[in-house]
Symmetry: C2
DNA sequence: TCAGTACTCTTAATCGATTTCGAGTTTACT
DNA sequence: AGTAAACTCGAAATCGATTAAGAGTACTGA
């Protein structure tokens, strides 16, 4: 409520002096600074962020674009963990977070970001092909993308290639050769990398993958996984191990197996992806790749803030964050 | 980038006229309005939210305070769903969301909210006893709390009393008389209501509850539930049915039962609380009370926006949102 | 003693909008 | 025709900060 004007009056100095005193400029005497700071404290002075932003074009506010098709990006385990980590890191550095949206199509994402004057934007969990997202990414605003990389733009990416490789090697090491994979939406970079790595790793291991072993599912969609699991089991030569899009979708598969009275892992082995806490509590404990949501969010925030504060010297990194194999009990040797 | 000044120049009118034209004031001719709007479109004009906020003290920005002790409020299923619903509703009405925090203690929540000039604040998932939260709630800022009610302040509350009552009646109807309850943190209103309702309902049903049947656990804490479940089973006269703090924590209990080779529900019945999607996919499907996160978030947003836009006429409602019993397969008649 | 520095502080412009008040023009009515 | 009412529009103040440029003092050294 109290503005610099009141402090100035109380101290008998000009507003300019107050501003400089509070910003600890060199051309104000220590004595005056002390006086001003004291008055500011007494009056409960709070800087007015708009006035400051208006003049400086800096808001210490970061835009967050986390909008999936269903408008439920926040309820998405993986992304909510990434966002939480991003938030903690950003706040430690004095930045706040504001959600970017398209205001019922009355503004594009970029326009909204400019309207709110955010210093930078982190993007995840969106359709990266959409024109609006592309416009935002290619604007002059500092932008970091998560799990998708644009040319010449920094990105933080969960290392799905190595992750899938480890997972495949893991089940292979148990003797599995008939490995099926129900994957997520095909247009995403995440899926492409995982599927590509799945094929490549098995090829390196000398295992042939029948076309019908690879099914196009959907992330976080247990029902679809239920159906696709049944399809896989109905094959003349069914797999001995099934990999799922993610830990949550995996539940659908588990239910399909239970309905057929197949025991996990005695009759069939399964694995997920994500490393959700819940998956680790299931019985049997799910073999999976834990994605390091903590590091991903942290790196994204650090990278974005670095771009904002040091636009000249920032390296436009493409950081790859390794996952971690969580062995679990859902995989054993095939019969 | 383009400001009103440029539009004014292009149209040969004053900045004041541009402002009034864009805000559709009555004292500007239709002709001029058209001209101004056209120029605004052509120049890609975007209003400057800071300048506007500076003058009007309105930001169309809502503060969100969702900070639990572990700084992981966003990863909390229940709250992330509520927040998502709140976000969708607020955005539909033209409001944006900014997170409130205490900036590493350099500002209180209230100060932060003022600094960012939010029009109102929604509070959930915090320690409502903390001085900072109380300060915020009792300020002149419009505030809505979720799952906790302060005197004279609007709140949206999941109806835990009726919910627990229904749940108890449900298991009672199967014949259970030895019903244990592992509840969450005792200092929260949610827990108090649930525990109170648990006792009252059973009393009404004429069932006595041994003290040792009610254990103090913790929300979202499967490990603790694992331990407490074992304690309950070790009692000389163990319960035939156990209620858990929430669906997630329930997993710990399930594991404890499995470790003792107790079948659910044949040997013992269990129930959760929340209605998480995952719980409904478990085998056996979990009996639980589904909290209507969608409505809770929606009501909270509507209430808050109403307070902001109609400060005089708003009724300070305390909305209670009923839950819904999800029967599940985890409860059956005791042996 | 006087110019040159160093130090401290103020004046005033500025960021981009909103809004009050008044001025000028047109229309209406007697 | 003359006065009042109705329309349009603009000048200028204002919101609360930042910042360049300059003014006034005091001190230094020749």
């Amino acid at each position: 409520m109290a503005s610099m004007k009141e402090i100035a009056r109380q101290c008998g100095v000009s507003v300019a002096t107050v501003s400089k005193a509070l910003n600890d400029q060199h051309d104000i005497s220590e004595e005056t600074k002390k006086k001003v700071r004291k008055a500011a404290r007494e009056l409960g002075y709070l800087p007015n962020s708009f006035a400051r932003a208006l003049k400086t074009n800096r808001t210490f506010n970061l835009g967050v674009l986390f909008v999936d098709e269903a408008m439920s990006g926040l309820t998405h385990d993986y992304f909510s963990h990434v966002l939480n980590s991003f938030k903690v890191t950003a706040e430690e550095q004095g930045y706040d977070l504001t959600f970017i949206n398209s205001r019922k199509r009355r503004m594009t994402y970029l326009e909204h970001a400019r309207y709110r004057g955010v210093d930078g934007v982190v993007i995840a969990c969106v359709n990266f092909d959409s024109a609006e997202v592309v416009e935002l990414v290619h604007s002059d605003l500092p932008v970091v993308t998560i799990d998708h990389s644009f040319n010449d733009k920094p990105a933080v990416i969960s290392d799905n290639i190595t992750g899938m490789k480890e997972l495949v090697n893991y089940v292979y090491s148990f003797g599995h050769r008939k490995i099926a994979y129900i994957h997520g939406e095909e247009h995403t970079a995440v899926t492409k990398n995982r599927v590509g790595s799945f094929y490549r790793t098995l090829k390196e291991l000398g295992v042939e993958v029948p076309e019908e072993y690879v099914r196009s599912g959907s992330y976080r969609n247990p029902d679809l996984c239920y159906r696709l699991t049944n399809e896989l089991l109905d094959l003349p030569d069914p797999p001995t191990c099934i990999l799922y899009p993610d830990d949550f979708a995996c539940i659908g598969g588990i239910n399909a197996l239970k309905d057929r009275n197949l025991r996990i892992p005695e009759d069939i082995s399964i694995a997920g992806y994500d490393g959700l806490e819940a998956g680790q509590l299931l019985d049997p404990k799910l073999a999976t790749i834990e994605q390091d949501t903590n590091l991903i969010g942290k790196y994204a925030a650090e990278q974005l803030i670095d771009m904002i504060e040091h636009p000249k010297t920032t390296l436009f990194d493409r950081v790859s964050v390794p996952g971690r194999l969580l062995p679990g009990k859902s995989v054993t040797s095939p019969k």
